[in-house]
């Protein structure tokens, strides 16, 4: 029977990735001076599983390499090797290497063993010289004995006295004899001298020995193999039958069996204790090459990045509680539906209230069902955050900086696809903070700061969005340098008056970089604008705030789901747009409001204790409104990223839930729009993006003010 093993590959890949994550996480937290036994065992088991699986499924390159890693781990956990701090890095690199190889296999290509061989040599050095105890003896092989033993001419004479407890190990002499019988002609006679009297007999013990004669041309190794499991605790003597002897000449009297020279052949080799561990490791096929010079980091990182980028996974793990919830809801839906069916089948006007109630229930259930299904795609952001401890650890070492990473809000949930696509932008922002934000330990001390810098990754829900912040306590953005560079690159002219926040925002423009020496990490300047674009494609936004000397905060806002929105339909002239309901504070008639005209800028609405800039939608969209005058229209006050604006429209229409269709799919991103939807009448309506509208209108944060001077972060 041949089993197709490839059907198990995917599971193996997944569990290996999990195992590698466990290894990595444990390694990052390990205290070399005081190794916790459970931790080291966990790391060992993970490596062991990967080795076992890769061997079983034929991924020999991985098996070979992991074997070395596992060997050292085994020595460490059995206290035969004292782990040093820089071993941790070697193990971490091995994790990376194995990960890369698995990714290569998953992607359908072959494993590149170059890195593995380099690391293998480092392990071999440690294993050869470093440990304090005797290496474990390794049997050269189990099922087959390598040395060719004597072949008996006619067969074998076997004396077998099993251990008294043989039956208690589930071994059964009869079974072994049956196997022997398959190798040739067998005759068996029992040696019963040691069987005690019935009264003293333990039925579970084995007191019998046997003499067996096997005729035929079986190899000695075949015979030995049959007794392999019990040979250590038994007496086993195998002698070749003398040539010419035939079965008739054999005496079968137990007493007459005499052993010639005891040719006790043990399976465990007692040859000079070989350093079998290192022997295994000196690869049979690979000629140890001279350690290659470290490839230039940039190249290596690029290569790593390419190999490491996994295809977006096409499966998702869902807690059974979410599924059960879903099932319950569908059940309720079915009940409501049949109830409505009943009302409908025999409808009279008197049933109208019942019908309305039923429809209301239907609407409720549909909403709940929808939320429930959405939540299936929601995963905690810890999945995205999980790569950062390692990243920060490695990078801070590379840059010789001391950085502590703090993760907050790891349980905050977001859509799986959004999370997958936010991962790279997050990496870039964290790298940026590490590279340009956090100062070197000397600089920090000189500035009166703690030597250890801090980067915080924080996630929380706000309104209908998820907010992710990358906060560092570094040097902050250098306003002057940014402005100078921007003028140099022609992004702005030096006569432009830019607010601080507008200057900081320049870093998101294409072609911008202020890094003096372009490091491979984040200096290239193509990064930030790509980061922003990626986030915008997710219908999100990214902003930066900074205080020179104290640090910077990058704030990413993303919708919780990409699919559905509660919308407010609004009309300007012939055009109907949709505003996200969640962003609307209130709407007011303009004519009785206090409106201040500001020369050269926006009109401002005085609304109780706030000054709210007015955005004329018809103007920024270039469409014909019913009336251009502010007093004639409606003002919808909306909030976005802590500032408020009032949008001038002609009319408010209905509120409805809309399915968000991307404009990006077939067209491109449009500033001021976050997508489109198809209304009930089949026409397309555009969904407004308030942040974009604010930009188009040229409103700056400073134009929104409160009359009293209160803390800026307080929401109105």
């Amino acid at each position: 029977m041949s089993v197709d093993l490839s059907q198990f590959h995917q599971v193996f890949f997944e569990e290996s990735h999990e195992g590698l994550d466990i290894m990595e996480s444990a390694l990052l937290n390990i205290d070399v001076s005081n190794i916790d036994s459970e931790t080291i065992n966990e790391i060992f088991r993970a490596a062991h599983s990967i080795k076992g699986g890769s061997g079983t499924f034929g991924f020999n390159e991985i098996a070979d390499f992991t074997h070395v890693v596992e060997t050292l781990l085994d020595l460490i956990r059995s206290d035969q090797f004292v782990m040093q701090p820089d071993n941790v890095d070697l193990f971490l690199k091995s994790v990376d290497c194995i990960r890369t190889m698995i990714n290569e296999l998953e992607g359908g290509s072959t494993c590149d063993t170059e890195q593995a061989n380099v690391l293998k040599q480092q392990f071999e050095v440690l294993l050869d010289g470093g440990f304090s105890g005797e290496p474990e003896q390794s049997d050269a092989s189990e099922t087959k004995v390598s040395a060719k033993d004597e072949t008996g001419g006619n067969g074998w004479q076997i004396y077998f006295k099993p251990d008294i407890d043989i039956l208690r190990t589930g071994n059964e002499p009869l079974r072994m004899f049956r196997e022997l019988a398959e190798l040739g002609e067998l005759s068996v006679s029992a040696v019963t001298d040691e069987i005690p009297a019935l009264g003293e007999l333990d039925p579970e013990a084995c007191y019998t020995a046997w003499n067996l004669t096997l005729w035929g041309d079986a190899d000695e190794s075949q015979v030995k193999e049959i007794f392999e499991w019990v040979v250590d605790e038994s007496e086993l003597t195998i002698t070749p039958l003398s040539l010419g002897a035939d079965r008739h000449a054999q005496t079968e009297s137990p007493q007459e069996v005499s052993l010639e020279e005891p040719q006790v052949q043990d399976l465990t080799s007692n040859a000079a204790p070989q350093n079998l561990v290192s022997q295994n490791l000196v690869s049979k096929n690979v000629v140890p090459q001279a350690p290659k010079p470290e490839r230039p980091k940039a190249e290596k990182k690029a290569g790593d990045a390419k190999k490491e980028s996994k295809p977006e996974s096409v499966s998702i793990r869902v807690g059974t509680d979410k599924i059960d919830n879903l099932i319950n809801m569908v059940g309720e839906l079915v009940i409501t539906q049949s109830m409505l069916g009943e009302i409908g089948s025999d409808f009279t006007v008197e049933n109208l209230p019942k019908l309305m109630a039923g429809l209301e229930q239907l609407s409720q259930h549909t909403r709940e069902l929808q939320e429930s299904v959405m939540s299936i795609r929601m995963l905690p952001i810890s999945f995205a955050f999980s790569r950062f401890p390692r990243l920060v650890h490695d990078m801070s070492q590379n840059l010789s900086k001391k950085v502590e990473l703090i993760l907050q809000g790891e349980n905050t949930e977001l859509d799986k696809t959004v999370m997958e696509r936010i991962s790279d932008p997050l990496v870039h922002l964290v790298r940026n903070s590490l590279d340009h934000g956090i100062e070197s330990p000397e600089q920090r001390l000189a500035a009166g700061k703690d030597e250890m810098g801090q980067i915080t990754l924080s996630a929380f829900h706000q309104g209908g969005n998820i907010v992710i912040q990358i906060i560092d306590d570094g040097a902050g953005l250098n306003k002057d340098r940014i402005l100078t560079k921007a003028i140099e690159k022609g992004l702005v002219s030096d006569s432009d008056h830019l607010s601080d926040e507008q200057i900081y925002d320049l870093i998101f423009r294409a072609g911008f970089s202020t890094a003096e020496a372009v490091t491979d990490i984040s200096g290239r300047g193509v990064g930030m604008d790509v980061v922003r674009r990626n986030i915008q494609e997710l219908s999100g936004s990214v902003e930066v705030e900074s205080t020179p000397g104290s640090g910077s905060v990058f704030t990413i806002r993303l919708p919780l789901t990409l699919a559905i929105l509660d919308g407010q339909l609004i009309r300007v002239g012939q055009n109907v747009y949709i505003l996200p309901l969640i962003s609307i504070i209130e709407s007011i008639q303009s004519y009785d409001q206090a409106i201040h005209r500001v020369s050269g800028g926006c009109d401002i609405l005085r609304l109780r204790d706030e000054y709210v800039p007015i955005v004329r939608l018809w103007e920024i969209f270039n469409v014909k409104p019913d009336s251009k005058k502010v007093e004639d229209g409606l003002l919808v006050v909306v909030e976005c990223e802590n500032i408020k604006v009032a949008i001038l429209i002609d009319d408010l229409q209905a509120q409805q839930q809309v399915v968000i269709k991307s404009l990006n799919d077939n067209y491109t991103t449009v500033e001021g729009l976050s997508g489109a939807t198809i209304l009930g009448d089949g026409t397309v309506s555009l969904i407004l993006d308030i942040g974009g509208l604010i930009k188009l209108a040229g409103v700056s944060k400073e134009q929104y003010k409160k009359v009293e001077h209160t803390d800026d972060s307080e929401a109105a």
């Binding site: 198990f8 599971v11 088991r45 076992g52 061997g55 390794s138 189990e142 589930g170 250590d232």
Partner: protein, 120 residues
């Protein structure tokens, strides 16, 4: 129907073993660690146990010890899955009362041949 208890913390190994054994007509119960296996063995009648050694919560050696004190499992064949370089594990397994071992990596045919050998 001959029932085999397959114990391994690696899902891919369990799947491979289960698929192979079921294909050969055996009934298979899966467990992901020693404790899980012990619980299942107490509830169902198992004719042979196949177990990995390195597992969380309860490892293979402990599992063997715990099984052997259960009257029903005094003589049940128990095979350990070991890797070649772990002769101490084999000894530990034997001392705990295991019947024998299978060396990893093994292929499905080797698995079936060994099991057939043991079950007769």
């Amino acid at each position: 129907m001959t029932t085999i208890l397959a114990v391994d913390d690696s899902a891919s190994m369990r799947q491979m073993v289960t698929f192979t054994l079921k294909g050969a007509g055996y009934d298979v119960i899966e467990a992901s660690d020693g404790q899980d296996a012990l619980d299942k063995a107490k509830v169902s009648a198992v004719d042979l146990v196949l177990s990995d050694i390195n597992m969380p919560i309860m490892d293979g050696i402990e599992l063997v010890k715990n099984l052997r004190v259960i009257p029903d499992y005094k003589f049940t064949p128990i095979l350990m899955l070991t890797t070649e370089s772990a002769s101490d594990k084999k000894m530990a397994g034997k001392n705990a009362g295991a019947t024998g071992w299978l060396v990893k990596p093994f292929n499905p045919d080797q698995l079936l041949a060994t099991i057939k050998k043991v079950l007769g």
